[in-house]
Every structure is written in structure tokens, then in C-alpha cells.
């Protein structure tokens, strides 16, 4: 009742913004009808994770350890990556990447990082995965692409496209980013996407990009939430060569911070599928 009074008294003054707000609401409700999320439909690679056991070794290889400099992959991450069944396996139609709390090779946590380097690399395309994420402070799972020339063309010059990153203590938020020369790490071109009345660790969500010459479109489920173009980045556009896929669950480090007393281990990122399309 009193709200109606406020509404009436504000109505005149705020009418234009009110209309705008309502329009936004309506348009966001109708996203799937009015907005074209994806256009690339020619499937060129897919792993549906239908074969039990280790991931398909014709598609996936592993990063092992704590990074080439032993520094937690440049981020002071706390985990030791392995290819053991405890950390990575296919089961019941899903790829399971599990972060565990255990002493292993001097680290306090173990986890896994899969990649298609040398096995599947592609320039442009639609890359998507259907994933249920873990949760808890210190968990930092990601589904991302790295330029296939990083050995010779040192990061960030080789380019990095983060399709999905997520911090376990913010289970309603993911973000997509692009890293290149002059816009990497904390200066990367990035945007958050938040779920309303839902969270990413209780159900599966689709994370994808559609990447072509001079653009990368980021989407979650049926919502296109960002487009990055050469005009958006503060340096050279380095996304016109083949990239490979990485999926990992990092623990701790400078970005997510360390796990705390509320963090429950083990934590598993569950991947239903990874699919790549071309135009």
C-alpha cells in the first residue's frame, strides 16, 4: 500500500527511467528469442566422455606438477597436478577433475589440468563445455584456450582466451576474459556473468565462446553476455592463430586466495561434454 504511494509520487519524475527499466526487463526475458547466441554449427570435435577410465589420450594430455618454474603456474597456486585416477577420470558419462587436500610432492593439494595441446588446435570456432562447478574458498576452476605458439611467442603475446573462470567463494559468478600483450593478468579484458536465484555448483551450465576474425563472443547457457573486439583491448589483437583447450581446477594462489576452514575437500568439476564447432 505504502509502496504504491511511493510509486505514485515517484512515477512522474522517474517515468522515463522506469520505462527504460521495464524495457530492459522485457528484453532480457526474451533473450533466447531476440538474440542470436551462436551461429557456428559444424561440429568438428567433441568429447562426450562416454568411455569410462582415463580421458581419451588421442584428445587430451596433461600438465603435471607445479608449473615449469615450480611456482604454482605463475600464480602461486597450491596444487600439484597429476594424471592419477584420484584427480582425473571419466565416470558415468562425465569427466571428473577432482581437487584433493593431501600432501603430495611437497604440495598440500592435488588436482588435474587437461589440455589438447598438439592433439587438437584450431583457429576460430565455437568452443563450449557443459560443466558443474565445485565450490569453496580457494577453488579456481577454468575452461580456457591458450595460443599454440606460447613456447616461442612468450605469454601473453601468444594469447589466452578464458571461456570460463570462477572462484569457489562466489558460486553465482563466472567471468570470461581475453589476455594479450598490454592486457594480461589483472589488466585482462574481462567481464563477469552472474546467475540470478541460482548458482554454478548445483547444476550444469553451458560455457562457450564463438570466436571469429576480430571478435570473441562469450555466452553462458542461452545468454550472450559479452563481445570482445580489437577495439576493446589496449594492445595488439593476438587471436588469429590456432589455440588449444585447457580444463583445470586450481587451488589457492594469488588470485583466489587460500582455502579456508569452510572449504570442503575433495571438490570436483564435472564436465558433461566439450564440443568445438566451425562456421
Amino acid at each position: 500500500m505504502n509502496k504504491n504511494n511511493i510509486y505514485k509520487s515517484l512515477k512522474v519524475a522517474l517515468l522515463p527511467s522506469f520505462l527504460l527499466t521495464m524495457l530492459l526487463v522485457i528484453s532480457s526475458c526474451d533473450t533466447d528469442e531476440t538474440q542470436t547466441v551462436t551461429t557456428f554449427t559444424k561440429l568438428v570435435m567433441a568429447d562426450e566422455f562416454d568411455t569410462e577410465g582415463a580421458p581419451n589420450n588421442s584428445m587430451w594430455t596433461f600438465d603435471i606438477g607445479r608449473g615449469p618454474n615450480g611456482d604454482g603456474w605463475g600464480n602461486q597456486e597450491l596444487q600439484y597436478y597429476t594424471d592419477r585416477t584420484e584427480n582425473v577420470k571419466v565416470e558415468n558419462g562425465f569427466l571428473l577433475i577432482t581437487a584433493k587436500e593431501e600432501s603430495f610432492e611437497g604440495a598440500s593439494y592435488t588436482s588435474a589440468r587437461l589440455k589438447t595441446e598438439g592433439l587438437f588446435e584450431q583457429q576460430y570456432g565455437r568452443f563450449e563445455a557443459r560443466i558443474r562447478l565445485p565450490y569453496g574458498k580457494g577453488l579456481w576452476p577454468a575452461f580456457w584456450l591458450l595460443g599454440n605458439d606460447c613456447d616461442t611467442n612468450i605469454w601473453p603475446n601468444c594469447g589466452e582466451i578464458d571461456i570460463m573462470e570462477y572462484l569457489g567463494d562466489s558460486p553465482t559468478v563466472v567471468f570470461g576474459s581475453a589476455h594479450g600483450p598490454g592486457y594480461s593478468a589483472g589488466e585482462a579484458e574481462t567481464k563477469e556473468y552472474s546467475l540470478v536465484n541460482d548458482r554454478f555448483d548445483t547444476g550444469f551450465h553451458i560455457f562457450g565462446i564463438e570466436w571469429g576474425p576480430n571478435y570473441i563472443n562469450y555466452y553462458v547457457d542461452d545468454v550472450l553476455y559479452n563481445q570482445i573486439t580489437p577495439e576493446d583491448v589496449s594492445g595488439e589483437w593476438v587471436f588469429d592463430h590456432p589455440f588449444y583447450i585447457i580444463m583445470n581446477v586450481a587451488v589457492g594462489g594469488s588470485f583466489p586466495g587460500s582455502p579456508d576452514s569452510e572449504t570442503v575437500f575433495p571438490q570436483t568439476m564435472v564436465v558433461d561434454y566439450v564440443r568445438v564447432y566451425q562456421q
Binding site: 505504502n2 510509486y7 521495464m22 569457489g168 548458482r199
Partner: protein, 454 residues
């Protein structure tokens, strides 16, 4: 966004009006600008617990996003009409169906910061409480997750609060609540229920002596932050590994029915609870002999269910001098309503009556009675000395009586009736400590019926 929010509210209100004649309303709102659907007689202060009755009003000058709020005036601790503010809002009418919500939420602020507010919902069977809620001087939204919404098909207890002056040095203050409602936040997940505070407890139990499960809670992650609430037993499903030994009912009371071992575990909404109770049952409990009836003037009881007991400071002083090992007595065991002290790891232990309670004037009495059962094998050289201290800390004097090993029998109650003259105290008008001293020769005893008499 504000306007959109209002529109949503408007929609929900229409819904609630339509649903008014349904058997169990699915309305979530409790207070927006006024109470929503609570009827006329809905405020029930916890007067029998010492709460002040007259603490509640609807404040039309203070509000969050509206024109009115619930105002609670927490009284001073020395208010003769009640030392704290506590009450429950119960629907005056039929209960509500809250199964489609996942949390009770509200906005709150107070005239000064306090961090020991308890709030919750549930009339009794499905009561939920969140303790240590912090109120600050600006409006903050608070969340009390529902441990298992599917249980709340007909709930009348919409909101309760309990607020004292523990954080404010006894001085009263005011807090306001607004936009109080059950909501489907969608961001409440990752349940971690617990019984017995998440601890795996192992203990002896006795046939026909039930054990109450305590420390029941549900922890849920609300958009990244864990929130723990105490949850009534009826939210849990209890399971026994051997129902011929022990079984738990929906109130969390474990009945002990046979000899053997049984472990009680629990689930809440199909999630296994942390914590369990492993019971080792070996026969019935052996109670101390019941003392005879005596005239009130003929007995000063320290610890007995047969008489009215004098107040004591403690049954275990836990003297922090680095020498005391004794556990137990804090508090005494409650064996089906009969209080018994079980001292374990005994070397010495004192029962205090000198700090915050009057010391015991035993001048008129002739004897000290104590029942002791030794729960372990007794070796020659074992002993228990009973020592009394008079006028503790003020020209104190002490006297003791020592009982050798042959005074006790393993697993049997022994009644000691000690002439007070044997303690050799010139003055026994201000007894402040009663010690049991074994120097660890005897380490596990039951004690009952400690009283002076004539």
C-alpha cells in the same frame, strides 16, 4: 531496479490475496509495510523465560524501502519487567506452506552494534535458530536458511527473536526489522548437517536410560558464505546400527533397549550428517541408595535428588595449577532425571561453595554423607581422602578423613557417613570447599548424595 522490485512485490501480493482461502497459504511475506496475513493475535513474548512483554511496536518513522518497520526495544538488563527482548510471531490462523522457499530473510539495523542476536522461525517441531547475528547501525540484509523446506508444509511460527544486553554492558537499545519474508533465493546450497556438533561420540549407556541427541545443526552455503543454524530434531532422519540395542525417535531421544553396541547416525534431506553416537550398553544403571526422608532443618544437601540442594559454585573447580587432571562434574550427568557425578582421571577435585554462593555452615550438623562407587579395580594402597576447607582464603583451615582401599568395592555403591568431628576443624561454620583426593590411585568414580545431616 527499485521500481521493478516494487512491481514484483505487487504481483506477489495479488497472488497472496488469491491464495487467502486456500488451506495452507503459500505467502512468504511476514512484514513489508505492515504485517501480512498474521491475523490479530500473533505476538507472543517469552515472558516465562524472563523476557519483557512490552518491547514491540510498528514504527512508522523508521523503515527500509518503505514506510514502516518492526521496532524492538531491548530493555536494560535490570529492567524489573524483564531482562531481555524475546518473542515469537505466530500466525493467528492456519499455518503456511513454506516448501517453495529456501530462507527467511529480513533487513535490520540497530541503534548500536550488537553481535549476539538470535533469530529464527518455527513454532516448535521445525524450529530453526541462527545465533550470533550481528546488527549494525545501517540496514543490512540477513539470511536464515531453511534446513529442509520440504518439511514446512504447515508452519505457524513465522519469526522469533531473542536479544539481550550481553554486548552492551547491560544497557538497552533498539533494533528495527523490515521486509521480513520467506524467499526462494536459489543461492542456498551445499548442505552440511551435523548432530552432536559434528563429533563422533562414544559413551556407555544403560538400559532404560534414554540419551538426548544434542548439537543438531544445518550448515548451508549462501552465495559463497556458510551459514549455520540450529535445527530441530524433526528435520533429521535418525538411524540405528542395531535397533535391538538403541533407537532414536523424531525428537532425537535415543531409547536404550538392549545390551550390545549401537551407533546412531542421521541424515537431513538425504545428506549424511557429521557426527554420530556410539553407545556401549551393558545392563541397567546402578543408582546410589536413596537417602532417608529427613526434616529440612536436619540436613544441608550439597548434591542429592532426595533433598533441596544448597547452591554451589561448581562440582569441579578445574584448578589451573597444572596438577589437577580430574574431569567430570561440569555439569553432573543427568541419568534420566537423576543427577550423578562421574569423576574420571581423578587425582583431586573440589566442590566449591565460597565464590558466588554462601559458604556452608555445618556447625549444627553432625555427619557428612557421601555415596561413592568405584568403577575400576581397586588395589591395595588405593585411597580416597575427603577434605573440608573452612573460610577459604581468609585464615582458612582444613581437615580431612582418609578411606583406604578396603573401604571400597569395585562397581558397588558405598555409603560413607563421616562424623564431622573427625575432620578436627575448630570452626566449620564457613565450609567453602569439599575435596576428593586420590592422588590418581583411584581414577573413575561415581559420586552421589553429598549432604550434611544431624
Amino acid at each position: 531496479m527499485l521500481l521493478v522490485f516494487m512491481t514484483l512485490i505487487g504481483c506477489e501480493r495479488e497472488l497472496s490475496d488469491e491464495a487467502e482461502f486456500a488451506t495452507f497459504s503459500k505467502t512468504g511475506e511476514i512484514f513489508t509495510d505492515n504485517f501480512v496475513g498474521l491475523g490479530t493475535n500473533f505476538f507472543f513474548p517469552f515472558v516465562s523465560d524472563g523476557a519483557k512483554a512490552d518491547v514491540f511496536s510498528v514504527d512508522e518513522d523508521v523503515a527500509f524501502e518503505s514506510s514502516a518497520s518492526i521496532r524492538i526495544d531491548v530493555p536494560n538488563a535490570n529492567d524489573p519487567d524483564g531482562s531481555f527482548a524475546g518473542a515469537i510471531f505466530i500466525v493467528d490462523g492456519s499455518g503456511r506452506n513454506l516448501t517453495e522457499f529456501d530462507a527467511l530473510t529480513f533487513w535490520a539495523k540497530s541503534t548500536q552494534g550488537v553481535s549476539d542476536i538470535t533469530m529464527g522461525f518455527g513454532e516448535s517441531k521445525f524450529q530453526v535458530a541462527r545465533n550470533d547475528i550481528s546488527f549494525s547501525t545501517n540496514w543490512v540484509k540477513h539470511i536464515i536458511p531453511i534446513p529442509d523446506p520440504s518439511k514446512l508444509t504447515e508452519e505457524k511460527g513465522m519469526l522469533f527473536f531473542s536479544a539481550g544486553t550481553g554486548n552492551t554492558g547491560g544497557f538497552g537499545y533498539t533494533f528495527w526489522l523490515d521486509e521480513v519474508k520467506f524467499e526462494k533465493l536459489g543461492t542456498i546450497a551445499q548442505a552440511q548437517p551435523a548432530i552432536l556438533n559434528g563429533v563422533d561420540v562414544a559413551q556407555d549407556a544403560f538400559i532404560d536410560i534414554p540419551v538426548q541427541l544434542t548439537g543438531l545443526s544445518q550448515t548451508l552455503n549462501a552465495a559463497g558464505r556458510n551459514i549455520t543454524v540450529t535445527a530441530a530434531p524433526s528435520y533429521f532422519e535418525f538411524k540405528s546400527s542395531d535397533i535391538d540395542v538403541a533407537r532414536a525417535n523424531e525428537t532425537g531421544l535415543v531409547s536404550v533397549v538392549g545390551n550390545g553396541q549401537a551407533t546412531i547416525s542421521a541424515t537431513l534431506a538425504n545428506v549424511a550428517a557429521q557426527g554420530s553416537l556410539a553407545l556401549n550398553v551393558n545392563g541397567t544403571f546402578d543408582f546410589a541408595p536413596t537417602p532417608p526422608a529427613r526434616n529440612t532443618n536436619d540436613v544441608i544437601s550439597i548434591f542429592s535428588d532426595a533433598y533441596t540442594n544448597a547452591p554451589v559454585d561448581y562440582f569441579n573447580g578445574f584448578f589451573s595449577d597444572g596438577f589437577q587432571t580430574t574431569l567430570g562434574g561440569a555439569p553432573p550427568l543427568d541419568v534420566n532425571g537423576d543427577a550423578v557425578i562421574n569423576y574420571t582421571v581423578l587425582n583431586f577435585v573440589g566442590i566449591g561453595t565460597f565464590q558466588d554462593v554462601p559458604s556452608i555452615n555445618t556447625t549444627e550438623m553432625t555427619h557428612l554423607h557421601i555415596d561413592i562407587k568405584v568403577n575400576e579395580s581397586i588395589d591395595p594402597g588405593d585411597f580416597i581422602t575427603i577434605q573440608l576447607l573452612n573460610s577459604v582464603g581468609d585464615n582458612e583451615t582444613s581437615g580431612s578423613v582418609r578411606f583406604e582401599s578396603d573401604a571400597f568395592t569395585r562397581d558397588q555403591w558405598v555409603s560413607l557417613d563421616i562424623p564431622l568431628n573427625d575432620f578436627g576443624l575448630a570452626d566449620r561454620s564457613k565450609i567453602g570447599l569439599l575435596f576428593f583426593i586420590s592422588d590418581a590411585t583411584i581414577s573413575d568414580i561415581f559420586v552421589d548424595n553429598i549432604y550434611y545431616y544431624k
